[in-house]
């Protein structure tokens, strides 16, 4: 064959062989999904997620799930750095609204709508709407944390109070608080540290008084504008200070300090989620079985409590969204929801678990489920929520704790500042 014909022909043939070969190889190479959530570094969750991954991989040969372990406080930072380079892990659990607004997440409607009704009915509309942004679904709610009031039975009884009749209104709570405060011991702790837990608790008190922190479409802040909100704020922050019922140093009290105080018996009650009970027992085994739970005190009927919602999402950098959805579906299954509830004390968000024997076997969990029937989801759905919850609102709380007589002014300033930020997107 003439050389000038042979060479291109051979080249073409070689190219065809190479392409076929690499396609074969690629078909055999497993898809690797990276999974990043702040909870993978929670020690009690570790055996569960390892099992989840093992069983998923066994059922789906050709897909591998690679967990990305990050310290909780740096989880978002790492996610943003990777997203900016379009190399974020496929499956993530992050602040949904902020991430969706910034283009870091992929809408999931096409996957959701393709699922059978059988699967979809486990999530109520209200639950789903907590994972929506501008009408599109960006995550599947997997687990959450409902907040309630946890009491130390021994301290309550010691103060001459009846554990079967926890306080229902603000005034009753204050009366209890006075009795539970003694020398070197306080009724509760006011959360004023520089994390968004401070904001969570503040919101609950506001809602419990029938107040609102924002208007309906979150374009305006009403911490001071709404008189019931301001009243609740003053009441709650008034626990702190000399002669109050709250432990000292509220501006440095976060979840860690609060649970420490409770575990060591320095405070008799705390506003917290179910996982806090496990933490307390872990810190101080003598506290096992000593706590009881009640709905947070409220001045209006049907006041909602707060429930954090953690959803699994697919990042916009994901190269294999189909496989990612498979894993998310798998992880959202009943088995894992129950395991998480039992072992890590994380509330399931499916509505079809009320009859599960394992769930029913834990009375405190049942109580939490019940209290959680009337809860508002958190974080609030606004792209700047992450910032205002951890910075601006906390700053205002800290200022008010340091200068209580300026509370009105401080929260009016907060309203103005927040309203500006809320509108600036």
């Amino acid at each position: 064959m003439p050389f000038h014909v042979a060479r291109p022909a051979v080249a073409a043939l070689a190219a065809a062989v190479a392409m076929t070969f690499s396609a074969l190889v690629a078909a055999q190479q497993p898809i690797v999904l990276q999974w990043q959530t702040a909870n993978l570094t929670e020690s009690q969750y570790e055996p569960i997620w390892k099992q989840t991954i093992a069983e998923f991989e066994a059922a789906n040969p050709g897909i591998k799930v690679e967990p990305v372990l990050v310290a909780r406080k740096d989880h978002w930072t790492k996610f943003v750095a990777a997203s900016q380079a379009r190399k974020a892990p496929c499956i993530v659990s992050v602040d949904l609204t902020t991430a969706a607004y910034n283009g870091y997440l992929m809408p999931l409607d096409k996957y959701w709508n393709a699922e059978p009704a059988e699967f979809r009915k486990a999530w109520s509309d209200a639950m789903l709407s907590s994972a929506k942004w501008k009408g599109q679904l960006y995550g599947l709610p997997i687990w959450g944390g409902t907040y309630a009031e946890i009491y130390n039975r021994d301290l309550v009884v010691k103060a001459g109070l009846d554990p079967a009749k926890p306080p229902k209104t603000f005034d009753e709570y204050l009366a209890w608080g006075r009795k539970l405060t003694g020398s070197d011991q306080w009724a509760t702790a006011v959360l004023g540290g520089k994390t968004d837990t401070t904001t969570r608790v503040l919101l609950m008190w506001i809602w419990a008084n029938g107040g609102e922190a924002f208007n309906a479409d979150m374009s305006e802040a009403t911490f001071a504008k709404n008189p019931k909100s301001l009243e609740a704020i003053k009441f709650y922050l008034g626990f702190a200070g000399k002669g109050g019922i709250a432990a000292p140093a509220p501006t440095t009290t976060n979840y860690l300090e609060q649970t420490n105080l409770y575990a060591q018996g320095k405070i008799a009650t705390m506003r917290n989620a179910y996982w806090a009970v496990a933490k307390v027992v872990g810190d101080n085994p003598a506290m096992a079985g000593k706590s009881f739970v009640a709905a947070p005190p409220a001045n209006v009927p049907n006041a909602p409590t707060l429930a954090t919602v953690t959803a699994s999402s697919i990042s916009s950098s994901c190269a294999n969204p189909d496989a990612a959805w498979k894993f998310i579906k798998f992880d959202a299954g009943r088995k894992w929801a129950v395991a998480r509830a039992k072992v890590a004390n994380w509330m399931p968000l499916r509505n079809d678990l009320a009859d599960d024997p394992e769930i029913k076997a834990d009375p405190m969990l049942l109580q939490y489920v019940q209290i959680g029937q009337n809860a508002r989801s958190y974080p609030l759905p606004h792209p700047v929520w992450a910032e205002i919850a951890a910075n601006d609102i906390v700053d205002a709380v800290q200022k008010a704790l340091l200068a209580p007589d300026k509370t009105d002014e401080i929260f009016r300033d907060l309203d103005a500042r927040l309203t500006k930020k809320l509108r600036d997107i």
Binding site: V80, G103, Y104, K194, A249, T252, Q264, E387, Q398, L402
Partner: protein, 293 residues
């Protein structure tokens, strides 16, 4: 060697480091400048020229943070120097155990800043912390002090922890310098009947001056960009009392997700320090001229 060959030889030596730094420092630096000129919302970046700078200069938070940064850096660096020098003088006079002491005093520098800060966080904890416990047992304070809970004490606490972290390096530098001062100079001073302060002023200090400049410059740079201690201990609180610029930058970038503004704050910080450095160098040169006369 011809001048040309000298230059080529010199370039050959300097080139590896320069190329390395160009790739690894200049690109991220340039990127930071570039980002500061854009309004960044996630994956969307729109060019806004100096818009970010206008915004941050118009924001109280920036000026407040700048003030806190200056106060923090100035206090920390001055204390590093004063205490480091004092310690070096003390250790220098001791005849025994100097090496062991040097190693002992270096300990804070060897612990990772975040870990050290966490431990100090515990030590200063009002209810369970060791500091309050010891102070109460010694009868110095009647009830627990919320060290990190009040603005003034929080500021003092983070400065104190930064002093703990930073003194070892300065002390080591000063100690080394002290040990190279020729004994003859001290003997001459003694013959002239000089007292301790005079000895320090006319023998010790002149010999240490360059070292002090080196130590201070490095210290300033490290302290003004330092994030870990304040980030771990107070997060910038309470009520912004310890919110230095690195904390503001971090919060703006990763809580506020406003990467363009955060970059602008960083660049503004650089510019301000540059101006101060130029002023300082000018002043130092004038001083030298005066001293020379």
């Amino acid at each position: 060697m011809t001048p040309r060959r000298r230059r080529r030889a010199g370039l050959a030596f300097v080139a590896p480091a320069a190329a390395f730094l160009a790739a690894v420092i200049v690109f991220p630096l340039g990127h930071a400048f570039w980002t500061s000129l854009h309004r960044v919302r996630g994956l969307n970046a729109t060019f806004v020229g100096l818009g970010n700078y206008v915004r941050i200069f118009g924001d109280d938070a920036f000026w407040h943070s700048l003030g806190v940064s200056f106060a923090f850096t100035a206090s920390a660096v001055v204390l590093h120097l004063a205490i480091g020098l004092a310690l070096a003088l003390v250790v220098n006079e001791l005849r025994v155990g100097r090496t062991a002491l040097r190693i002992l005093f270096l300990t804070p520098w060897m612990v990772a800043p975040a870990v050290g800060a966490t431990i100090w966080l515990w030590l200063l904890e009002p209810q369970f912390g060791v500091v309050n416990y010891l102070l109460r047992v010694a009868g110095i304070i009647p009830s627990p002090v919320a060290w990190l809970g009040e603005p003034a004490t929080a500021f003092a606490s983070v400065v104190a922890v930064d002093v703990w972290r930073g003194v070892p390096f300065v002390m080591l530098l000063m100690l080394a310098g002290l040990q190279t001062i020729p004994v003859e100079q001290y003997e001459a001073a003694a013959i002239d009947g000089a007292r301790a302060w005079t000895r320090f002023r006319y023998v010790t200090w002149p010999n240490l001056r360059y070292l002090v400049v080196v130590a201070t410059t490095l210290d300033l740079i490290n302290t003004i960009r330092h994030y870990d201690i304040i980030g771990v201990m107070t997060g910038g609180g309470p009520a912004g009392a310890t919110e230095v610029l690195p904390v503001l930058i971090y919060n703006t970038a990763f809580r506020g997700n406003r990467l363009g503004e955060a970059a602008a704050i960083g660049v503004a910080l650089l510019a301000i320090v540059l101006v101060l450095a130029i002023v300082y160098v000018r002043a130092a040169r004038l001083d030298d001229d005066k001293a020379a006369r």
